[in-house]
Amino acid sequence: MTCALAAPQLSASLEPSEIRPGSYTTLSISIEGGQPDSLSTILLPAGVELASASPSFSNQTNIINGNIKRSAIITWQLMSNTPGEYVIAPQEIHIEGKPYKTNETRLVVKENASGAPSSQLDPLMTLEAEKREFYVGEVVPITVNLYLHRRTLLRRVGLIELPKDNFAIQRFPLQADENAVMMGGIPYRALAFQSTLSALKPGKYKLGPATSELILDVPLTDSRSQHPFFNQTESRKVKPTCNEIDVTVLPLPTENRPKNFSGVVGEFEMTMTAEPQDLAVGDPISIEISITGTGNFDALTPPTNTDPEPWKSYPPKRYRMGSSNVPTPQGEQQSIGYNQVIVPKSHATFIPPFEFSYFSPSKKQYVTLRTKATPIKVKAAARPTQEASKNTPAAAATVAAEPEKAAVVNSIITDILVTLPQKPIWLAQKPTLLNNKLFVIGNIFAFGILLSLITGKFVYTSWQQYVHSPEAPMRELMSKMNSTKLNPAQFYSLAAKYIEAKKLSGENIATIMERHDALNYGAINNETSAKLDPAERKRVLTALKI
């Protein structure tokens, strides 16, 4: 047994030396007759990169014809995505402090590389949509089928993606339903990735192609690198091609669109339960509404109360019924629940229906679902509303152990007060007051009386003043003198009194006074008692009035 102590022999090799873009190759540096000082890094040309950061190292000992040969092998996993021919420069390895160089190697990266698998080993990808014509917002199931040759091994599936320009597409799952299929006599594993999409706007569009990046272990077909006992494979990064689908997106009709339509498209059912159903005014009622069906639940809004006035409503809470977070496959229904607390503000005999509207693609029309009115018994509140409202869940947290306060009694009217008058008073078209004869006559009468009173008083006062004035005796004397029954003595006696009262003087007055004296104080004769001559009377009266 001899031990060969020759200089170390270094050789570098690539296996395979031809790969497809994205595939891997192994760079092996074999050192015979020595051990490397360290696993130093290697120099690689641009376009070639390390698939793993650290190399693997192995030792081999061979005894041939009594000669012992020790060799070390360092291997790196390399990969390249860009087609081309690359020269990997000689690598420098230090052995016992001395540098040694390997030979250079060549790597060819091309689509039809000799180390590439046959076309049968290529994965296939197809895109399927359940409908080619559907409405805006309608949820349409789509499936991406991945067909893998049975001789290949799928290491990893990248995220399957579709162009999202005109569609909202739910994320594809990483797990798929797997089946075995035969196509053209070749066995394939079929992986079905299911998702849904809904169109954002109407029009004709192309859906797809779907893209994904796979890492496959593909068996090597190069006979030079075939292991005599084991099938050798190489890992490849593959982007399978996929088909496109022409789809037509229909707009939602504008006719008969309900007011509360929020864009929900699909097929749904709605149920409602309420507890309690025997309560007092101000007590909370818990409403549970479940909506089950298929469609775009994302656009779902809480069902609305059809008669909200008599109720105090708290914001509804949405929750998913069941624990499934997996995208819903076609035909499988989802259920969304809403919990809402409502409080009767007054007497009520039933919980009003709740409703929500959606567009049904199967019926091609809008549908409004409405729950049935739930009969309830509502008693008058024993406590005022303020107190009652504290019983609601929203306020319950704030109702800590507060000291009992005297409640302020607020009247809570729950119904109208019905009074039915026994006898109606019929309204009649009445004339205006100015056309009302009684009113007009009454006012004229009152005015007349008032005017009479004022006038009478005025007349009476004037008369009194006239009667009691200083001229009154003279007016009386003059009046008496105008009497035709007077004899001359009487007439002149009155005239003398008048002259004395008015203190008249003058020639005529003196003549009158002489005549008076003659008649009343002279000798009695016939003239005294004779009738007064009217001409004389007139002459005397004229003299007195001057």
Partner: protein, 270 residues
């Protein structure tokens, strides 16, 4: 014998038809509507009441029954309308005020502010009577004043007359306020009630324009301008301020669509 029997038979036949066709008086029809309401036949009550109204047989009591009926039929807008029509006429009814308050609680309708004391006081008498009282008080004052000035000599009588003048003056002032505060045709001729659900006042005469305020059932609006199918209205908002906007006419019902002379306020009708 036949000469007597045959004409008698014809006479009875004719008069039997006449007797059978005796028309019910308005009171009978009112009582029929009332009886229907008491039996819960609200549809019949509504039909009978509306027929009387259509024939312009107006009565505040009939308005009340119609209001009760509409409430029972869950038409709160019409119920508020008829209660308000009934409340125009004296005497003031606490029951109607309570029912209107209840409808307000249920619908949250908007109403112009009203002074309860004023409306209760002025509602004691018809508006015309307030005017007659005011004029009568004026006459009493004038007579007493004239008597005091012209005839009363003794202090005692003058004192009594001055007291009468003061009382008459108070009567005039009170009646003036009663007359002034009492709803008149002029005061309500432009008022309308919202009788349709989901009414919104808009910023322009189109439904696509901006919104001003919701107008719940039974809300009171004052029509400022009528322009085709839209009206420019004002309403007293919950923020205790006046809001103005446009509302479609078919959403509103005038508070008093009948002749002004029913209002007995001396308004000079056309």
């Amino acid at each position: 014998m036949n000469r007597i029997i045959v004409p008698l038979f014809i006479f009875l036949l004719l008069h039997a038809q006449t007797w059978g066709a005796i028309e019910l008086t308005y009171e009978d029809r009112y009582n029929e509507a009332k009886a229907a309401f008491e039996k819960g036949d609200y549809a019949k009550t509504k039909t009978l009441g509306e027929k009387l109204i259509l024939e312009e047989h107006l009565s505040p009591e009939l308005f009340q029954i119609l209001a009760h009926t509409y409430y029972r039929l869950d038409d709160y807008g019409q119920a508020a309308l008829w209660y308000k029509r009934s409340s125009i006429f004296p005497p003031p009814s606490p029951e109607i005020r309570q029912n209107l308050a209840h409808i307000h609680d249920r619908t949250g309708n908007l109403n112009f502010p009203s002074n309860s004391l004023q409306s209760q006081f002025s509602g004691k008498l018809p508006r015309t009577l307030w005017l007659v009282l005011m004029i009568s008080g004026g006459w009493i004052f004038l007579f007493a004043a004239v008597w005091t000035m012209l005839f009363a000599k003794s202090i005692r009588i003058r004192s009594w007359l001055i007291l009468i003048q003061v009382m008459a003056l108070l009567l005039v002032m009170g009646s003036w306020f009663g007359w002034q505060w009492h709803p008149s045709y002029k005061m309500i001729e432009h008022l309308a009630i919202v009788t349709t659900k989901d009414v919104m006042a808009h910023t322009a005469a189109t439904v696509t324009s901006g919104s001003v305020t919701k107008l719940p059932l039974g809300s009171e609006v004052r029509i400022l301008e009528d322009r085709g199918i839209w009206s420019y209205i004002e309403v007293y908002s919950e923020q205790q301020d006046i809001r103005r906007g446009w509302v479609q006419n078919n959403k509103l019902t005038p508070l008093w669509p009948y002749h002004a002379s029913y209002m007995d306020d001396g308004y000079k009708a056309d």
